[in-house]
């Protein structure tokens, strides 16, 4: 199966300060059929990062300057939060837990079996594709919300939390009729029929949430 992996679009970005290992792993993944880009430090990679890059990152956990976890953190805050697979000389439990909690796709030792590495890469690619799709759909949805006025967005935020019109009116210091009017405008502009439908839409668009929340169960 090794040489006949389903070709996917995307690149593996490999970051390791150990040049010998960097070269060897690039060589392997290249031979298997992936497109590979190698970087000797986290900063070097981040400097080249653009939203158009897709695929996954394979990074050494322990590096001078910015280490693997810090790289993952920076990546997550960026516009292109690709999944990260950590490779380490020796994985101790605290570091592993920490990395996984931060949303690491996988955590492998440098001498892990090739199949494990390739499987991890496959999973990461899949997740990246899903997340990329998700991000694209959210973006379309969010554009629909762009038609709402500032006040309508404020009202919407209260509505999806299940508040009554009277409560909303008191909270925003407006009268109940005005609240009803805003709600009508919202449902009309977004083309939804019920509050349940409205709530799902808001959820799908990722509105009113902390940005890039870590997901332990992406599927």
């Amino acid at each position: 199966m090794t040489a006949t992996l389903p070709r996917r679009s995307g690149t593996i970005f490999i970051v390791d300060d150990d040049l010998s290992f960097l070269r060897s792993v690039s060589r392997l993944l290249g031979a298997v059929g992936y497109t590979v880009q190698a970087f000797a430090s986290a900063q070097e990679f981040l400097d080249r990062l653009v939203p158009e890059m897709s695929g996954c990152v394979v990074a050494d956990l322990q590096m001078p300057g910015m280490n693997g976890l810090e790289l993952q953190d920076a990546l997550r805050r960026s516009a292109n939060p690709m999944p990260v697979i950590f490779l380490t000389g020796q994985g101790d439990i605290p570091t592993t837990v920490n990395a996984m909690r931060s949303g690491a796709e996988d955590f492998l030792t440098k001498r892990a079996r090739k199949e494990e590495l390739l499987a991890a890469v496959e999973r990461a690619f899949e997740r990246d594709a899903q997340e990329r799709q998700q991000r694209a759909r959210s973006q379309v949805l969010r554009r629909r919300f762009d038609e709402l006025s500032k006040r309508e967005l404020e009202v919407l935020a209260h509505v999806v939390q299940g508040r009554m019109n009277k409560q909303i009116a008191a909270n925003l210091n407006i009268n109940v009729r005005t609240v009803k009017l805003h709600r009508t405008n919202i449902t009309r502009k977004l083309g939804v029929q019920s509050v349940a439908e409205l709530t799902r839409l808001v959820d799908e668009a990722g509105l009113f949430k902390a940005p890039r929340d870590g997901r332990l169960n992406p599927s």
């Binding site: 090794t2 060897s24 000389g89 020796q90």
Partner: protein, 628 residues
């Protein structure tokens, strides 16, 4: 003097002549003793005899004694007329003089003891001493003269010869032709009959001048016995001592004699007349007469027993065993042994040496025990150092595993890549060759890590050798680099170029440095990542010693802790053993260096240790080699 007198009285309790007083009584009258000798003044036998008599008399008598001596010199003037002249002379010389005793020493006849004193001094008691074989004339008894006649102990001498030399087959007897000589020879002949199986050869008709030649070639089994030779056949006169000297110096066999006074000129010895003993006995007799004893009641004593006496040198010369000597034998001329001469000194020195030896032995034992104890301490110290070293390296285990996994992982990935290349229809050999080169390099990298670690695990004692400090520091820094990286610590070494070599134990010094570096890294756990740095500086001090300084920028050391930091079991770490720095100091001091701690400008701590440069090392600027 009064004190001496009192002393004398108390000591001996007697005041007559027999008291053993050493000083003569001043108050008592002087005793005058006339000694008349038949021979000349210089006859050796008489000199000994006279001396013995004088000494004994003076010793035994409390009165002071005045000695008067006259010599007839019969050897040279033997005619009757001369005797008359001598008698007249004595008579005239001592007329009216008070004499207390006459001591006569007759030899050829007894006129000196009988006729002469009776004619001149009828009232003066007479004592005589004679050594000869002549019969004592009746006249002496009648005149009431007393004295001692000492005979030669011929029987005893022959016995001694046979005892000392049992193999003797022939005895050559040398004697003269005078009456006295003949009398002696007669007695020898008489005695010889008792000896069976021994041939006696009497050389009486040979002139003395021929003797040396004749004696020169006597066969083994022969001995010579010298009798008297007042006249030889040519009419020449000899003293016994002269004769013995001639005979003993030329004879090819041992020579035996009859008179004790001739001993010492080469003869072996004999059962001889002991002149000193004889003199003493005569003096004793004289003292009794001086004290008023009646001479008529003291019979003339005829002594035939001699004293066995030998010359030690002659025994040696003729190889005669001393074990054969009779128990009462007097040995003359034996060199005093060192023991006899310096007994007290030898005992003292011996005691001192013994005490010294015991002291030295005790010190040796003590030293051995101490050395054994030191060895045990040393062994335990080595054991402790080893444990500390292993535990130190143990701290690095995680980092080292990482450092090993790096090249091993690279090797694995490369191998896997190569497999894939090989499965292709046209394998890229260029790439595969590059892969193999990488594998080889990574293998070496892993091997180096293991080598660095392995030496530190070895159990070994201190060994001293030439060390390149740069190499040592670089190796140690390489060992901890992985750990430093994992802990986000900037680790650097600043080593000045042209460092002289030091003498020391590589592993132990590495242990010290490793310990200091790990301590420094531990101290920086709480410091923000971007400020964590540790520097090892190696250089030479102005005094010419080498110096290694390990500086961290950690929390520093509390002032009250700084004084105890090198003490065993002192630690500021929750899981520390407190041995690292104590062991480090032990190691550095064993190398002749010292170690100190101080705060630094980075608010951290700097540990500095110095090491003396290798002694034979030439200074890098080409200076003279240090004196060894």
């Amino acid at each position: 003097m009064a004190a001496a007198l009192v002393f004398g009285l108390i000591s001996f309790g007697v005041s007559d002549c027999q008291a053993q007083a050493s000083t003569n009584e001043p108050g008592l009258p002087v005793k005058r003793v006339l000694m008349i000798f038949n021979e000349g003044k210089d006859v050796p036998g008489n000199i000994v005899l006279e001396q013995a008599v004088r000494t004994e008399l003076q010793r035994a008598c409390t009165n002071r004694i005045e000695f008067l001596t006259e010599f007839l010199d019969a050897s040279h003037f033997s005619d009757k007329e001369h005797f008359q002249v001598f008698q007249d002379y004595i008579g005239k010389k001592y007329a009216g003089q008070k004499l207390d005793l006459i001591l006569a020493f007759p030899s050829r006849d007894y006129r000196l003891a009988g006729e002469l004193p009776k004619a001149l001094f009828p009232d003066v008691p007479v004592v005589f001493v004679a050594v000869n074989e002549m019969e004592v004339p009746e006249l002496l008894h009648k005149l009431g003269v007393t004295g001692i006649v000492q005979r030669f102990d011929i029987r005893g001498t022959l016995g001694l010869i046979m005892r000392l030399q049992p193999d003797t087959r022939r005895i050559v007897v040398i004697g003269g032709v005078s009456d006295v000589d003949r009398a002696t020879l007669g007695r020898i002949t008489e005695a010889s009959r008792a000896l069976e199986g021994v041939e006696f050869d009497f050389w009486t008709n040979r002139p003395a001048v021929e003797l040396p030649g004749a004696l020169k070639s006597l066969p083994e089994g022969t001995v010579v016995l010298v009798s008297t030779m007042i006249n030889d056949v040519n009419g020449q006169t000899f003293y016994m001592s002269q004769l013995v000297q001639v005979v003993a110096s030329s004879a090819s066999v041992p020579v035996y004699v009859l008179g004790g006074w001739v001993l010492g000129s080469g003869a072996v010895g004999g059962s001889v007349v002991d002149s000193e003993d004889l003199g003493a006995r005569a003096a004793e007799l004289a003292v009794r007469l001086l004290n008023g004893a009646n001479p008529e009641k003291l019979p003339i004593e005829v002594v035939t027993k001699g004293t066995p006496m030998v010359d030690w040198r002659a025994l040696e010369r003729w190889d005669i065993k001393q074990s054969r000597l009779p128990a009462n034998c007097v040995i003359r001329y034996r060199p005093h042994s060192v023991w006899e001469q310096h007994r007290a000194l030898i005992v003292f020195v011996g005691v001192v040496l013994l005490a010294q030896a015991i002291t030295i032995a005790a010190l040796l034992v003590q030293r051995r025990q101490r050395r054994r104890a030191e060895q045990e301490i040393q062994r335990q110290r080595m054991e402790l150092m080893h444990v500390a070293r292993v535990s130190t390296v143990g701290q690095l285990a995680s980092a080292l595993t990482h450092e090993l996994n790096q090249p091993l992982g690279a090797i694995l990935r490369n191998a896997e890549a190569a497999e894939i290349y090989l499965q292709k229809d046209q394998p890229n050999l260029e790439e595969i060759r590059a892969i193999l080169a990488d594998i080889r390099r990574d293998d070496k990298r892993a091997g180096d890590v293991i080598d660095r670690m392995r030496t530190l695990f070895k159990r070994r004692s201190l060994t001293s050798g030439r060390l390149d400090l740069r190499n040592l520091v670089e190796d140690t820094v390489a060992l901890v680099r992985a750990d430093a990286k994992a802990r986000q610590i900037q680790l650097s070494a600043q080593i000045s170029p042209q460092l002289p070599a030091v003498q020391g134990d590589r592993v132990h010094l590495q242990q010290v440095l490793l310990n200091l570096i790990l301590n420094g890294m531990d101290a920086m756990d709480a410091v923000p990542k971007d400020r964590r740095s540790l520097v090892v500086r190696v250089g030479e001090t102005e005094e010419g010693t080498l110096q290694v300084a390990v500086s961290d920028c950690g929390m520093g050391i509390a002032p009250d802790a700084a004084g105890h930091i090198f003490e065993p079991f002192f630690t500021t770490k929750p899981d520390g053993m407190g041995m690292g720095l104590a062991i480090s100091r032990t190691i550095i001091e064993a190398h002749g260096g010292n170690i100190r701690v101080e705060g630094n400008a980075l608010k951290g701590t700097t540990f500095t240790f110095t090491l003396p440069r290798m002694k034979s090392e030439q200074a890098p600027d080409g200076g003279l080699p240090a004196s060894r």
